[in-house]
């Protein structure tokens, strides 16, 4: 541990830092309580971040998900380029769902509010949430370009000096299947951002806070903690390769991770080229899911912010699945991005065997269903997870979200929202890989369509052909399966399901760690 000169004494810095975290936690509570869809309140698919006037993140809400906290600062910096500070006014709210500028797919909407004190910009509050629908042909891997994936909202003002952009609201309403839920959720984000803004101004006012100086201090101590931890890893080039199902052919992620002194450089050269399926992970998302596992390995106890990621560089060549070009389809980017943690862990396993985790039954799985029922249109996203990878000193937990942090949708809520009956939700016993420690088990979810009309189903599902491998001698977990009326189907294709059809989603088990003991 080294002392970093911050200009704050160690007590004041801790106190002010905690207060900033409290502000975003409060904003997150507001967003959760006023949201309309299940994605925020049941599934935790959102984040709130407070950033300095340059768009560097200061603090994030405690239960935020890794993708959004990595991408949101990048989004805010894009906004600051597109809307120079002198053009912003109090009461402005900026928004976009552009995958390249924001989170990597269209259903996530980023909402950013500049915070002014005495006429000058002092900070920004930002939130991002996964909306229940964004129009188009619902999220599916078989979209060929982004135009099929739904409404694109270019960076623009949602509110201009406090005045709502009515045309934009009308355009959104007109394009989505569940307009009340979508607009309700966006307004919940606005409410959360304004709350963070008010709270920050009060803090500045009450404590005569020099926010730029505090930002520098927070960034510097966090950066230093990360650098100290990296310095403990032996220098070298650590390599790994991870396979995923892909659609027509398997896709591979190739990583060369260089530890040099107190920096880490991740180079994804040699990774598969971008594909005409919605599996492409834009560079923001690639960055977020590469930085996240490194944070877990280096400084898990330090609150995350821009300083934590400064010593980390990520490079993915343009035109690969980790840095695709517009208008490549991107809706299922989790089916690539969620494997980056496994690539990082596998690469660093020789250096940090006591900290890394065997691959989990990632990615996050999802059943999207859209159709009509007696109350009009429905569009739902039901989430479920596979088993957790094992570690050197522990078995993996069954059914745990990793590397994302998205909760399942309760069965009773699923049946309230759409004409379905869930017939089974159970652990797939023994699906975790064997090892000195076993991988966690996946689960089986069976859903029958009710009602009187067919519906459209699409999926996030992978590891049907490439199970979560074991680590350091551990065995792989069971692969996943998706069945329609008992017959395996390809979940990368959207399909119509008839009334009484049963979909069965069986998530993969996690990989084992270390060789299984001989009996």
């Amino acid at each position: 541990m080294r002392q970093t000169d911050t200009g704050f004494d160690p007590v004041s810095l801790r106190i002010l830092w905690n207060r900033l975290i409290a502000i975003v936690d409060e904003a997150a509570a507001t967003l959760r309580r006023t949201s309309f869809s299940t994605l925020v309140r049941e599934s935790n698919d959102f984040a709130c971040v407070l950033l300095d006037r340059h768009g560097n993140s200061l603090v994030q809400n405690s239960a935020a998900i890794p993708s959004f906290i990595g991408t949101l600062p990048i989004t805010v910096r894009h906004f600051l380029e597109l809307f120079p500070i002198e053009t912003l006014r109090p009461g402005d709210v900026l928004t976009t769902n552009d995958p390249w500028l924001a989170t990597g797919h269209l259903p996530d909407i980023s909402v950013v509010m500049p915070i002014f004190q005495d006429g000058s910009l002092v900070a920004l509050s930002a939130s991002v949430a996964h909306l229940p629908d964004v129009g188009g042909r619902i999220r599916s891997a078989d979209a060929r370009t982004i135009y099929e994936e739904g409404l694109q909202v270019p960076p623009c003002k949602l509110f201009d000096a406090g005045e709502p952009n009515d045309l934009l609201f009308r355009v959104i309403r007109q394009n989505v299947r569940v307009p009340d839920q979508v607009i309700g959720d966006i307004m919940a984000q606005v409410a959360a951002n304004s709350l963070a803004s008010r709270r920050l101004l009060r803090l500045i006012d009450q404590t005569a806070l020099d926010l730029p100086r505090l930002a520098t201090a927070i960034h510097n101590v966090s950066e230093q903690a990360t650098r100290d931890a990296i310095r403990d890893i032996p220098d070298g080039i650590y390599r790994s390769e991870v396979l995923t199902d892909g659609v027509d052919e398997r896709l591979h992620i190739r990583l060369a991770l260089t530890v040099e002194g107190d920096t880490i450089d991740c180079d994804f050269s040699g990774t598969s080229s971008e594909v005409d399926y919605a599996l492409n992970s834009v560079s923001n998302y690639t960055f977020a899911y590469t930085a996240y596992p490194l944070k877990c390995l280096t400084s898990p106890d330090v609150p995350n912010n821009e300083g934590s990621v400064r010593p980390i560089r990520v490079h993915a060549p343009e035109g690969t699945i980790l840095n695709p070009r517009y208008p490549a389809p991107v809706g299922g980017r989790a089916m690539i991005g969620h494997f980056l943690a496994a690539a990082v862990f596998e690469a660093l396993a020789p250096a940090l065997p006591d900290r890394v985790q065997a691959p989990s039954g990632s990615p996050l799985w999802c059943l999207n269903l859209a159709g009509a029922h007696e109350d009009g249109q429905f569009a739902v996203a039901y989430f479920l997870n596979g088993g957790q990878g094992a570690m050197q000193d522990a078995d993996g937990m069954p059914c745990l979200s990793f590397p994302s942090n998205v909760s399942n949708t309760p069965v009773e809520v699923m049946e309230h929202l759409a004409p379905v009956r869930v017939e089974r939700k159970q652990i797939r016993r023994g699906s975790g890989g064997a090892g000195t420690h076993r991988g966690g088990d996946g689960q089986r979810l069976d859903v029958r369509l009710l009602g009187s009309r067919p519906a459209t189903a699409a999926f996030l599902a992978d590891r049907l052909h490439t199970p979560a491998s074991g680590l350091l001698g551990g065995l792989p977990g069971e692969p996943g399966e998706v069945l329609l009326n008992g017959e395996p189907i390809n979940p990368k294709r959207q399909r119509a399901v008839a009334v009484d059809d049963v979909l069965s989603l069986r998530t993969p088990g996690g990989g084992g760690y270390g060789p299984p003991s001989k009996i």
């Binding site: 160690p10 937990m397 929202l417 652990i427």
Partner: protein, 696 residues
Amino acid sequence: MPAMRLGIDIGGTFTDFILTDDDAGAQYVWKTLTTPQDPVDGVISGITDCLEHHGLSTDKIRLTVHATTLITNALIERRGAPTGLITTEGFADLLEIRRELRYDLYDLKIRLPDPLVPRERRLEVRERIDASGDIVVPLDEDQVRSSARKLASYNVDAVAVCFLHGYRNPWHERRAAEIVRSELPNVAISCSSDVAPEIREYERFCTTVANAYVQPLAGRYLTAMRSRLSNNRVAVPLFVMLSNGGFTDADEASNTPVRFVESGPAAGALIAGHVASSAGYDPVLAFDMGGTTAKLCVVEGEDPVLTHSIEVARVDRFKRGSGLPLMIPSVELIEIGAGGGSIARVDELGLLSVGPESSGAEPGPACYGQGGKAPTVTDADLLLGYLNAAYFLGGRMQLDPCAARDAIETQLARRLGLDVERAAVGIHDLVNENMATAAGVYIAELGRDPREFTLVATGGAGPVHAVGVARRLGIGRVLVPPTAGVASSAGLLVAPPRIDLAVSLPVRLDRMEGAQIDDQLQNLEREAARRLSGALGANEQPTIERSVDMRYVNQGHEINVPAPSGAVDSQFSAALRENFETTYQELFGRTVPGVPVECITWRVSARASRPDLRLRAGVRGNTETPRQRAVRFASHGERHETPVWQRESLGLDTDWRIGPAVVEEAESTTVIPPDDRWRIDMHGNLVIEIAAGRST
């Protein structure tokens, strides 16, 4: 009519008693060590000693109210009964799948609590009810019977019956319970439709299973308590305080013991609200700080703010999401890892950090001289001159200031590059900050502004830290009741006895069928009044109130809205919609025009009248001249010569004095910084008004 009431509060270390004679206005307190092997032993010996000491007999006692940590501890320590689960086919694993969420994003090694029922005792039966409460697969009764027999072979003492959508239609659960009862007549049975009739299966099942798990224990305990009280000539109704500050009789408490997990903290919140309200202050932030944790709770008009879900038995004690969720009505409090024993350290960033780890009672803070080496909050408080080394626990324990200084100097000050007093100020400030920060988020989640509150401090460490916490929150007034260190147990006797009942009946407000809801509400009201009858005075009628948990259609969180009495008709609906919009506007600053509203859970509360109770302040002799001590205050650089008062010597209804001051009593010490003014009011409360303008 004889009118003595007895309150018994069993805590981890001490069992507290309070006896009030409502006719004579007299009040007697007693404290004895808890007897963990059989807590009833301590209760009986305590009552005997208390009565003998005060020269009283049992014959005037007409009512006993009880709180205990027994249930919470049984869940934490996994000391419940072997339990089985009977559930819907296809869903035996829900308890183990949980919600699939990680409660700490960066810690790869998080653990979640094991289910209370292992896989082999979770049995499935064919049956299905749909989201609207219709039976779509009839209950397979033979399968229930064979499941019961199978559970018998595991020697279970309790069975939980949890079916999907049981909150909508309890029929299958009830029938299954009947069959289990006929097969296993000596086994405790809990149905999810009785214990927690609310949507979200994981949380409801978890609550029901927890209830079953502690049911045999609670039943034995309450039966023993009642019979031994009766053998000792205290043959009176025994009420148990629930987590929401309500009451229930011992029979009902034995059926749903999970509802009294927070009975002790509920009593603490009630007494804080009561003393403040008697002195004319409202609303209140109840602040109880002991050795390991601090608890805060908002109380309004003497009623603590309530919630319908809490979490117990956390794997990681202060991390939300790491425990077992319970869907029960409870005082909504936050618990923070901040107490006198909280340990201060230098963290991986080279910054000061305090808690949540605590040195506990063993080995305790360094200054206890029992082998504790780590610097704690109490060590800092002693070093700064807030505590009196010779008058801790009224002089029953001698503190060692050198050990405190040494621990802070060697383990913190040098490594932080601070002088030892600055480091001690840092510890004191940071623990205050941690509490204030958590309280700020909690108050905001309730949609309230902290500045409107009076902070009421109880617990051994509460009055030492109260002003620092209040100032950070922008709270202008602090109240420290008489005998603040042990005041909680009196909360058992200040609340009006109340019974709360609820039924889940989701319905859109604009499509409501009045007759069905009318029936349900009237049933609830009759049942609540019946259960309350033992606690009513002669000719006393209960007050009945209704409320509804409501939301915009498709929102996931409900808000509790007062409902009108009278028939459920169009006028009723209109009034309800208006109440909803008013409440929503208050909470979130806006309404959502044009979106329909739905009612989810209907609630009824029956109350008796509020008993009269005042905490008696000890007063002795004339005001003595205070001693002087050099005390260091965070905001005022060097040490100040500060008057140190004995609380009993101050009298009642005094003039205002200006801080700094330290006021000592046997169980706690109140610290008043410079410039803040203070007095003792006519009820014996120490009231502090915080000087405006200064903030940390």
